[in-house]
């Protein structure tokens, strides 16, 4: 049992589910190093993200959480100064070493950034955008899908009468949910969320958090946050980072009740 071939691990069908703890990881990061000039931003990061759970990347600002998230769908391409090495496997694709179909791999992940970036088109077209990229031409199918995903994020009732209004006419909180719906429409299996509530008011933040709790039935969520309370409320699995390194990871009960390192202990006391 302990000498399993790694290849078999990635095929869930051949591996019987053995209780809660043994979920196959959906995403694996191996020996990830990121340099920016002489700065070592991520130091030999190794981790596995469990399927259908909320994994929280926790740590103080500037510890490399966001960079780690950007590595996962290779948005690091946009930053020349970032020098990335290592492997990130999403199911069977190694995204860091693929050059052909990066758009296809990126569609396995939806991104929610610190503040909403709606596309400069109508509400309807924002959600339909990903479908059109996928080559869906059937108007009825698109319409159906737009409604489904807007309902999924609880936005349908608020916007159903003004689907053709520009997305920027929505409030910030609504825009963030729209961005979530837009991401869900491409049928990802993972949601990458980079402090998605940091620009929102408390009520909108609560809505997003509640959505996440519901969504984990169908999606794997990776949430970056520096708000300890948010991590406590949502996390199924916690990864604590500090200065580019993973200090501790495990279940929230273990980490929050029984921190093993001084850094985490200090962080828990400061509360931020």
């Amino acid at each position: 049992m302990s000498l399993q071939e790694p290849g078999i691990m990635t095929q869930p069908a051949t591996l019987p589910e053995t209780g809660e703890k043994k979920v196959t990881p959906i995403l694996r990061v191996q020996h990830l190093n990121v340099h920016a000039g002489s700065n070592h931003i991520l130091k030999d990061v190794n981790l596995e993200i469990p399927r259908n759970r909320i994994t929280v990347l926790l740590g103080p600002s500037g510890c490399g959480k966001t960079t780690l998230l950007k590595c996962m769908n290779k948005l690091t391409d946009l930053y020349r100064e970032l020098n990335v090495s290592g492997n990130i496997f999403i199911e069977n694709d190694n995204i860091l070493h693929t050059t052909t179909n990066i758009p296809g791999i990126r569609q396995k992940m939806g991104l929610l950034s610190q503040r909403p970036y709606p596309l400069p088109v109508s509400i309807y077209k924002n959600v339909a955008y990903g479908l059109k990229l996928k080559g869906v031409r059937d108007k009825r199918l698109i319409g159906f899908s737009v409604e489904k995903h807007l309902r999924e994020v609880g936005l349908w009732e608020e916007v159903k009468n003004r689907l053709n209004a520009p997305a920027t006419s929505l409030s910030i909180g609504q825009q963030q949910r729209l961005c979530l719906a837009r991401g869900l429409a491409v049928k990802p299996s993972i949601i990458l969320a980079d402090e998605p509530t940091s620009a929102l008011d408390p009520i909108s933040s609560k809505i997003i958090e509640d959505l996440f709790k519901d969504m984990k039935k169908h999606y794997t969520i990776i949430l970056v946050t520096h708000v300890l309370r948010q991590a406590m409320r949502l996390a199924d699995h916690v990864i604590f980072m500090y200065d580019g390194e993973i200090i501790e990871q495990g279940s929230p009960e273990e980490l929050f009740n029984n921190p093993q390192t001084d850094k985490l202990r200090a962080y828990l006391v400061d509360g931020n």
């Binding site: 179909n101 758009p103 296809g104 996928k134 080559g135």
Partner: protein, 295 residues
């Protein structure tokens, strides 16, 4: 489907980069084209004699460009003397002392001034500046002038260059951090003194660049100057006399340039000269501006 998209991506990417490279290569292509056209001329006359000789007799095959170069320099210098103080003071007022409302009005005013075609400036020059020179300026100095003169060219050019230089100066002055000014003010300086020290002294490279680019623009301006400058081939020091700038030479003689041997090569040489001088000015002063912007 996925393959088709990636294929379209490649095609579009190719279109994009080809366009960009084409545009960036434009000055090179223009330079080579004009040089090749002008080349026959170099077999006849040395470069130095082309530029510094005053013998202009195309039908005899003598091409000395000095009268035209001198004319261009003179007109440009005059226009610079008129514009430089106006632009500097106006830019200081607009960035340091002006009300928000004036700035809101000034933006479209500068835009429209910059957008007016040079022919319109030429018409205005003929209607206002030329009579002004012949009826007021010349009698004031006790001479006569037809009005179609280097001075008229300089004035019209000056007005044309104002929006261009002013825009750049405003951009330069807007980059001054307000902290610097406050520091100067808090040391007991009047507002004007702070402006003198912080805004003007601190922005020498920017101001010089804006002026340099304005000079380059004035040097290449064609139609408006040609309409008021008189177009007589002669080297003169009197601004009330007519002159003949380089761009006007090209524009005036395109009709006959194919009927006289080497004339077309000579005009292409003039264009080549303009291109090289103006491009050099632009590259140098734009570089200064880009460098100061990055700081």
């Amino acid at each position: 489907m996925q393959l088709k998209r990636l294929f379209i991506d490649k095609i579009n990417g190719f279109w994009m980069i080809t366009s960009l490279v084409t545009i960036l290569c434009l000055p090179l292509i223009i330079g080579i084209g004009l040089y090749l056209k002008a080349e026959p001329l170099f077999g006849q006359q040395s470069f130095m004699s082309l530029v510094f000789s005053s013998q202009w007799a195309p039908s005899k095959g003598e091409f000395g460009f000095w009268p035209f170069i001198a004319g261009s320099l003179y007109v440009t210098l005059l226009s610079f003397l008129f514009t430089a103080p106006v632009c500097l003071l106006a830019a200081i007022y607009l960035t340091q002392f002006s009300s928000k409302q004036l700035i809101r009005i000034m933006h479209p005013v500068i835009d429209v001034l910059a957008g007016l075609p040079s022919v319109i400036y030429g018409v205005w020059g003929i209607l206002i500046i030329v009579p002004f020179v012949s009826d007021f300026v010349a009698p004031f100095f006790g001479t006569t002038s037809s009005g179609y003169s280097i001075l008229a060219g300089g004035i019209v050019l000056a007005v044309m260059c104002i929006p261009y230089i002013l825009n750049m100066l405003i951009e330069v002055f807007n980059t001054v951090p307000s902290g610097l000014k406050e520091a100067s003010l808090s040391m007991g300086a009047t507002k004007w003194e702070s402006v003198k020290h912080v805004v003007i002294r601190g922005n020498y490279p920017g101001i010089i660049s804006a002026y340099g680019l304005g000079i380059a623009k004035a040097f290449g301006e064609t139609i408006a100057v040609m309409m008021v400058v008189g177009n007589v081939v002669k080297v003169t020091a009197n601004p009330l006399h007519a002159g003949y700038p380089l761009p006007a030479l090209i524009a005036n003689n395109y009709g006959e340039m194919l009927s006289i041997p080497m004339y077309d090569a000579a005009l292409m040489f003039a264009a080549f000269l303009l291109l090289v001088i103006i491009l050099a000015f632009n590259l140098i002063f734009r570089y200064l501006i880009h460098k100061t912007k990055r700081q």
